[in-house]
């Protein structure tokens, strides 16, 4: 066994020597060995070092971007603080006009006041339970609508001002119907003169409030 091994070893040495004994064989062998070592160094040393470095640099780039974004956000917030402070009055009005609760009493009082200002008579109003508005599409989900209907007695000259005053309430109002008629002349004169008769005026619409939570329990409200 040992003799066979020795023979094989001698034979291998002889073959290697034969290859290395020529200049061409020596050159090729050294070139191959050099390339193999270079590749090994690249794979085992250069690439891990390079990858580690570039990975960390990429991570740093992301961190820098994140930091810049946070700085931008902080600057924007600081600007918003200034804007808020300089518009405090308007923001207070916004909170008043788009309240965070049902405000039927305001409307009843306003209807009464507007009617009085225009020499009309406020007969009554009814309000529906809160619901998502169908009048305006793509409305913010926090906006809740309350449908209302208000009745007045008015001369024809008062109909447009009455409508305009209610439509332009600072609290958001969407008037979708107005009806006026001398069918039931409140004055009882029955002159059939649309200009002089008292008209029954009905204005229907919806007002809005801001609810950051959920729709409150359905509550109906009537004022007569």
């Amino acid at each position: 066994m040992d003799a066979t091994k020795t023979l094989k070893k001698q034979s291998l040495n002889q073959r290697i020597n034969a290859i290395l004994s020529t200049i061409q064989g020596k050159t090729y062998t050294m070139a191959i060995a050099t390339i193999v070592v270079i590749l090994l160094m690249i794979v085992l040393a250069i690439v891990p070092a390079y990858t580690s470095l570039t990975d960390q640099m990429a991570l740093n780039t992301l961190k820098e971007k994140y930091l810049v974004d946070m700085d931008t956000k902080q600057n924007i917030l600081n600007t918003l603080f200034e804007v808020r402070d300089s518009n405090q009055t308007s923001l207070t009005l916004l909170d008043t006009y788009l309240k965070d609760k049902i405000n039927n009493e305001y409307f009843v009082a306003s209807f009464y006041q507007v009617a009085e200002d225009l020499n009309c008579e406020f007969k009554g109003a009814s309000f529906s339970a809160p619901a998502v508005s169908k009048n305006i599409k793509n409305l913010n989900a926090n906006v809740i609508g309350i449908k209302f209907s208000a009745s007045f007695i008015c001369k024809i000259s008062g109909v447009k001002p009455l409508y305009a005053r209610i439509a332009n309430f600072p609290i958001l109002v969407y008037i979708d119907a107005i009806n006026y008629s001398n069918k039931k002349d409140a004055g009882g004169s029955g002159t059939n003169n649309f200009i002089n008769d008292n008209l029954a005026v009905s204005i229907s619409g919806e007002y809005f409030y801001w609810n950051a939570k959920t729709i409150q329990n359905a509550v109906e409200f009537n004022y007569e």
């Binding site: 740093n60 913010n140 649309f194």
Partner: protein, 191 residues
């Protein structure tokens, strides 16, 4: 001492595999190892610099995050204000304004007429005007119809229906669609 030339080739033992390997290790391989070591060393130095920068960035990020955490409640409030503001404008600008229509229709109504129970109903994109006139005064209905058709820029597709009731009275209903109804504009409102 006299120097001379030795033209004989030096006689030496042929190099073994191991001696050739040894020569290679001391030659090419050494250069490769040195180059690789330099490259790894440079990478290591850069890595230290990059790590230091990373540490500094982490510190800055931590500081910025703590500031933003403090401002979080204000940020939510700002978002709500922005949503409310845009919603307010959106609702206002998408609400129809019937003021001009009412003025227009009222100006076209007859002042001295036999028409009774005149009712004007504006709803959404439609208008219905109904009333009653005696059969002898049918022309009053025609006059009203002509007024509405020829002098209103807000009405379209108008239809007049007349029905005779039992007391020789004509009940009529004038229906039309509404066009050119402007929306309210927030910019028109004075402070």
């Amino acid at each position: 001492m006299k120097k001379g030339f030795n033209l004989l080739k030096a006689q030496a033992e042929p190099p073994s595999v191991w001696s050739k390997m040894y020569d290679w290790v001391l030659g090419s391989a050494r250069i490769i190892i040195i180059v690789v070591e330099i490259a790894v060393l440079v990478a290591f130095v850069f890595r230290i610099i990059v790590d230091l920068k990373s540490k500094e960035l982490n510190k800055n990020i931590e500081q910025a995050e703590s500031v933003l955490n403090v401002l979080h409640a204000s940020e939510l409030k700002f978002r709500e204000i922005q949503a409310k503001t845009s919603t307010y404008k959106m609702i206002w600008d998408n609400t129809p304004d019937y003021s001009l229509l009412i003025s227009n229709i009222n100006s076209l109504l007859p002042t001295n007429t036999s028409i009774k129970d005149l009712t004007i109903s504006i709803s959404g994109v439609d208008i219905i005007i109904s009333g009653t006139a005696s059969k002898e005064k049918e022309d009053d209905i025609k006059t009203l119809e002509n007024n509405l058709k020829s002098n209103s820029i807000y009405l379209t597709g108008s239809v007049l229906e007349k029905l005779q009731d039992t007391n020789s009275q004509l009940k009529f209903t004038f229906k039309a669609g509404l066009v050119n109804i402007p929306n309210k504009r927030l910019s028109d409102i004075k402070e």
